[in-house]
């Protein structure tokens, strides 16, 4: 407070923002170019290329910047290993979304420039959260991410459901944001800090960790962030918003905002409120069981694959929360947070993949119900095989990526002494097989009359191929990926 304009900024600080700057450039370029150039296939291709290389660049930049935890901006941000990991996941999910959007969005008469721009802004918001170590920055990042997604959700503006879903998402999200910021205010009020490391240090000295003010702060934060991650009972917006949005958008919003939310949850609960572990873990356990149970059970009743996947994404939030519930202390030997990070990573590939095939189907003039998948394996075996692959992975069939993700979560839960929670995960995974495999059954045993014959879809091919490969490959290579996720922990 001595020097009112304490400018401690150096260029070094901006180094950690290189990945963010690249994505910002993508947002501005696509917005500007999309507005200036006349719509044409060439322009669309150029926009796609800009986006693809932008996200690739951001991923590469983030990976190159891995190493020692580097804090900057007076401790507001950090590019530690967790930030790098999450930035890679978020940017990768944006990249994969671009692949499944490149042909669908123009085909449905939506402006591609704005679309990519909003996608980039949302990605940017997520990346900011990933590298934020301050409540204020986390809030700004979450809002940037959410606001862009609201607009994306309403992108099919001629369809009533799209507007309806987006409006519901927006209204409820505002509500949850209010709760979140209220929680942040309480946190600040109790600890006198917004920096997460400071909060953690001060909390560690508290004698009475069950003080009502402290509990209230933690609970409000969990509620606010739980909403963003679609945890039951704060999940109500999810099915409507997911179903209303154009399918590529749904693919993105089922992953990126969720990963963003988990980035915030990990930062806030683990890095900031880590000392309050004993207070918040019981709540996380309850939320995880509720979320898994409701997501999986309601998904069974859905005939619409898009809506089914929406509920399944709620269920996956539940699995991730199990990993979080297994948190014991920061440091070696604790597998909980690496398992959550790994789950986010795995989830990005398989979920976007499943929605991608759905978008492909819609592009070929079909709907999104299970019946629309009938006999797909006969007329378009690569797409059907890819879908089966993703669904098997989502179910958790070895040796695919999804199996390893669940495996690590279950291990972490058992390690932490919550064997019954691990059993719940396994049981509900078995339930999930029922509704996932129904789609596979329709594709392979359904009547192929009326199934679409594929047209040439280059970007889809690349994107789906990349995701299939990732789901297969990273499953076997899960060791190194998990090690990467574990590093943050050991460095912290």
């Amino acid at each position: 407070m001595d020097n009112p304009v304490a400018v401690a900024l150096t260029l070094e600080d901006f180094k950690i923002l290189i990945p963010h700057a690249i994505v910002l450039a993508v947002a501005l370029l696509t917005l500007g170019y999309g507005a200036i150039a006349a719509p044409s296939p060439g322009r669309n291709a150029a926009l796609t290329v800009i986006s693809v290389f932008g996200y690739l660049g951001a991923i590469v930049a983030a990976l190159l910047l891995t190493g020692q935890p580097r804090t900057a901006f007076s401790g507001m941000g950090a590019l530690d290993d967790m930030a790098v990991f999450l930035i890679v996941v978020i940017a990768a999910s944006a990249l994969l979304t671009v692949f499944i959007s490149a042909q669908t969005i123009p085909a449905w008469d939506m402006p591609l420039g704005e679309y990519y721009s909003l996608l980039a802004f949302s990605t940017l918001g997520g990346m900011l959260v990933a590298s934020a170590v301050d409540l204020v920055m986390i809030f700004v990042g979450i809002e940037l991410s959410s606001l862009s997604v609201f607009v994306l959700a309403a992108f099919a503006k001629r369809r009533r459901e799209s507007i309806e879903g987006a409006l519901k998402y927006f209204l409820l999200s505002s509500f949850a944001t209010a709760i979140l910021i209220y929680g942040m205010a309480w946190t600040y009020g109790v600890t006198g800090a917004t920096n997460l490391n400071d909060i953690s240090l001060r909390l560690a000295t508290y004698q009475d960790r069950t003080a009502p003010t402290l509990l209230l702060a933690a609970l409000l934060l969990i509620v606010g962030l739980g909403f963003k991650a679609a945890a039951v009972p704060f999940h109500m917006w999810t099915p409507d918003a997911y179903q209303g949005a154009p399918t590529p958008v749904t693919a993105f919003m089922s992953v990126a905002p969720k990963v963003t939310a988990f980035a915030a949850i990990l930062r806030v609960l683990v890095q900031g409120l880590g000392p309050l572990r004993e207070q918040w873990v019981p709540l996380v356990i309850v939320l995880s069981v509720l979320t898994m149970a409701l997501g999986n059970l309601v998904a069974i009743a859905q005939r619409d694959v898009k809506r089914m996947l929406a509920y399944s994404s709620i269920a996956h939030t539940g699995y991730m929360l199990v990993g979080l519930a297994a948190f014991r202390q920061i440091g070696g030997g604790d597998e909980s947070i690496p398992s959550v990070l790994f789950y986010n990573f795995a989830y990005a590939f398989m979920n976007i993949g499943a929605f991608g095939v759905l978008a492909w189907l819609q592009l070929h003039g079909k709907g999104t119900t299970i019946d629309d998948f009938n006999g797909l394996a006969v007329t378009a075996w690569p797409q059907a095989a890819a879908m089966a692959f993703f669904l098997f992975s989502l179910t958790g069939v070895p040796p695919l990526l999804g199996f390893y993700a669940k495996y690590f979560i279950i291990l972490a839960a058992i390690e932490a002494g919550y064997t019954w929670l691990a059993v719940v995960v396994v049981l509900l995974s078995a339930v999930s097989a029922y509704y996932y495999l129904r789609v596979v059954a329709a594709m392979y045993f359904g009547d192929p009359a009326g199934a679409p014959t594929p047209a040439r879809t280059r970007f889809f091919g690349v994107g789906l191929g990349a995701m299939v490969l990732s789901v297969a490959l990273f499953g076997i290579l899960s060791g190194p990926v998990l090690d990467l996720a574990r590093q943050w922990y050991l460095a912290l």
């Binding site: 304009v5 400018v7 900024l9 501005l28 917005l31 500007g32 507005a35 200036i36």
Partner: protein, 118 residues
């Protein structure tokens, strides 16, 4: 610490008190002879055509949002201008970047016809 807030509290009380004082003077001093026309909302002297609870065209919102955006830009320029000496070249570059981003937004809004009253 409390002292700092005390000043703000005094400020708030003063503003409220002064406003209340002026308004009550007006109420006490002015004559009060209402006619229906006088009770209408003031619309720049033009008689009201329809009730106020009707719908507005969304163009108003677009203009309003654009106004807010560029208004805030202008507001943000003030503190920067005041602290320009301390911020130096670094601040200049920062501000240029900021304005460039806004300009792209401006160009976009212009190009998409948001500034035209069609």
């Amino acid at each position: 610490m409390v002292d700092n807030y005390a000043i703000i509290l005094i400020m708030i009380l003063t503003v409220l008190g002064f406003g209340a004082l002026l308004l009550s003077i007006g109420v006490l001093v002015r004559p009060y002879k209402p006619t229906p026309r006088k009770l209408q909302s003031y619309e720049s002297g033009v008689p009201n055509i329809e009730p106020l609870k009707g719908r507005y065209t969304p163009r108003f919102y677009v203009i309003a949002i654009l106004f807010v955006i560029f208004d805030i830009e202008a507001i943000f320029l003030f503190p920067w201008a005041v602290a320009f000496d301390q911020l130096g070249l670094f601040g200049l570059v920062e501000m240029v970047l900021f304005i460039v981003i806004l300009l792209i937004g401006y160009a976009y809004a212009w190009r998409r016809g948001a500034l035209e009253w069609v």
